[in-house]
Symmetry: C2
Subunit: 139 residues, 2 copies
Amino acid sequence: MIKGVLPMENTIISLEKGAVERWRKGDVWGWTEISDEDVTYFDTGTSKRIDGLEALKREYAKRVGKIRYDVKEFLDPKILVHGDAAVLFYRFFSTYLNPDGSIAGRIPWNCTEVYAKTDGKWKIVHTHWSFIKGEIKRD
Amino acid sequence: MIKGVLPMENTIISLEKGAVERWRKGDVWGWTEISDEDVTYFDTGTSKRIDGLEALKREYAKRVGKIRYDVKEFLDPKILVHGDAAVLFYRFFSTYLNPDGSIAGRIPWNCTEVYAKTDGKWKIVHTHWSFIKGEIKRD
């Protein structure tokens, strides 16, 4: 297990940040583009694990037009690299917005992403999103 | 990324099941014994990531004598193996018991465990526990 900043890690963090940036603009497909065909996906909001890219696309299709939040910067990101596999994890706050753009509340999240390199490309093979304490902070 | 059942995977699942079995009997130290010195740990019940085995031991020390639940079997366990790194994930229900032994409720969980082999031994290097939908089922 290698720790510390490597060029590879920068690639992974940049993939992740790119997908986050698209998500906060309402574009759900940034994630699916960097997820492997065999991705497995845990989300607090889904009752079962999602297996495979096609199933993830079906889930995300439901969210098109429903994203009304801003993702704050990654808190305490850390990465473990092991050859062609890497685990990235961080916390973040998502700020939910009312239709008028005012802030409805903030939810703290944990995120774990497992990346693997296939055919020279880094792809997400496992995602785990979860609430921290399920807490919503109202402004 | 190798998928399927390998002897190594059996080792990992057996480590995990051993720790679960001790936990449900109130022994919190099964997890710390199989966690790496540099383990990182996400838990819905803790507001920040726990970094390092010593910090995890301090957290678990608070839980001694407070565990009153039974862990159901692993649901849909899956493992991704990549050389000396492996990601195991599964869902499960924890059944909370009242002091008289009757069932207080069930909570569904997601779990992701990242294992790495160091000095010939498999250890947990990253754990992510989370509620699914934060839902509690009352019997």
